[in-house]
Subunit: 369 residues, 2 copies
Amino acid sequence: MISPQDQALMAQALRLAEQGRYSTSPNPMVGCIIASNDGRVLSQGYHQVAGQAHAEINALNNATADVRAATAYVTLEPCAHSGRTGPCTQALIDAGIARVVIAMQDPNPLVAGRGIEQLRGAGITVELMSNAIAAEQLNRGFIKRMSHGLPWLTIKTAASLDGGTALHNGESKWITSEAARLDVQYLRAKQDVLMTGIGTVLADDPNLNVRLTSEQLKTDGPLPQPLRVVLDSELRTPATAKVLDEQGAYLIYTAKDETAYADFQPGRVIQAAVDDSGLSIEWILHDLAAREINSVMLEAGPKLVASAIASGLADELVLYLAPTLLGQGTRGISTLGPLDTLAQRQDLTITDSRSVGKDLRITALLNNT
Amino acid sequence: MISPQDQALMAQALRLAEQGRYSTSPNPMVGCIIASNDGRVLSQGYHQVAGQAHAEINALNNATADVRAATAYVTLEPCAHSGRTGPCTQALIDAGIARVVIAMQDPNPLVAGRGIEQLRGAGITVELMSNAIAAEQLNRGFIKRMSHGLPWLTIKTAASLDGGTALHNGESKWITSEAARLDVQYLRAKQDVLMTGIGTVLADDPNLNVRLTSEQLKTDGPLPQPLRVVLDSELRTPATAKVLDEQGAYLIYTAKDETAYADFQPGRVIQAAVDDSGLSIEWILHDLAAREINSVMLEAGPKLVASAIASGLADELVLYLAPTLLGQGTRGISTLGPLDTLAQRQDLTITDSRSVGKDLRITALLNNT
């Protein structure tokens, strides 16, 4: 039985897990609270950096009180395998933990349930919470990769109240406020990959980097600098493009073969599959997932954004609406191709809307499932 | 000196005034609280229906306690002239009121200050509050008419998240939810005029009426049924159009002369001035103001909406955003004509955004001043 006390302690473990938000990828964020039967927290830990100790190990190592016969609250099923670190199940068994409450099973279908099985085999009471929404939300990128072999794809775009992003002559920059652009930095910091198209590289030459300090990010860990990815079928990215600079790594997906790659760092250009609309977004997303990428944010022009939406592989839209009317001009996310009936429209569910400076930020899930 | 107690009592008078929101036009909403010096409310009243007693008279008539030496809180400067009802200043003087606190002056520049003058001339202490934002907000239509000879013009429109309102084949109806359409009914109920264009009449044959009950509107007063106005330069409105039905009055503005009016009720067709873009919106709005119209809501197609925005006479935009992407199609409010630089854009200030069912309602003021 999951009691209200269990719920409260798990909520605490989930908040703890979030402290790893800039540094656990490709691993999930995990938090662990060890508490006595009357709800007193005896120790806690979270997974801080990929390759270092898991949450359970940190919680056990941090304990100064006796944790025998205590309950461990873990936001994700403890691992039963020896990966980058040892199996957490064995550590919990060895420590004499009597009961383990788990927010959600391992999303990898190949190993899901094994940790629970091992713990139960050692006589530990294991309880799996039935409503794992908060735990799933925490690691939606990791979960999507484990369950679908694809990263979580967020599309970030900006538009005027009348749905425009550029005037008909192409003048477009900075329709949103400085506050919105700062807000985008925080979104970027949580991504494994920032993706754009060659059109944006040639037109705007973006850095696609994170320019936030430890203080701004409220983190002691390493500062995040997502992998920058350019979709560039003809390999036109200039050697001087800012996305190739030294501030972070980059990858270019192209339709060209490797005889054309001389100007780029070895291994940084990848020949992708091609479909009717050009480079195959599906192929590229699978390739990124195979590189342990959990999350991708696309910041691109209307054509690539429309392709990503049309692919059915986008999960979320973040739309900054600037309080202005631009009139006739290039439309933002609207060049989806001519839809013939309302039934062909792409529906979404708005999950959040809030003011960011003078702009409005709307977050919506694409109803692809 | 305006004390915090004065502020609180005036806030109460403003809420009271709002009870007349469906029935005072063309008059302003006004509330009046009469209170003792220690802040006890002795009586109160508000202006209920145009042509009936003003707020001050109602408050004095409702009094059961002695109001001599009391303070009257009035949300608008009391009238000094005998209009539809007698002068309120004299009634306050006769009742022995010692102090009058006023939220804002009469917005009619021809009479502003006269009520205050008369009260002071009778030895009453009069205090005018310096920050009249809430009082101005309450009667922004009346104030605009008094100060500019124009009604408050709200543009109501709906769009998908990508700024579309119709598919390229014209299929467009009901992109927003039932909850949003119900919300529009409440917006309509507060208007003096609902305006549309002949294009919408021919395409959608809207009723342009209010279908809410007394219970829904929480009012005991008469149910509002705004005047319906069609902009129809060629006088193509069919005799069977729903906007001409018996549920309310209508007006048609046309470029034709009166020889063409035989099919319509006498006095219901008006020849308007014409400018470069067709019927002159400015001329029509001035004509409506001359008919004591305080507020107009335009619900029309993109061409008329764009003309209204381009006229510089629109005050507010109410945009319902449906969580869907429609792709290429007719744009909603965006056919403003080709703007050449970002400096020509029309900026707004977002004053509110909230969920209405699954849609988002954004309210923004046009920065025309």
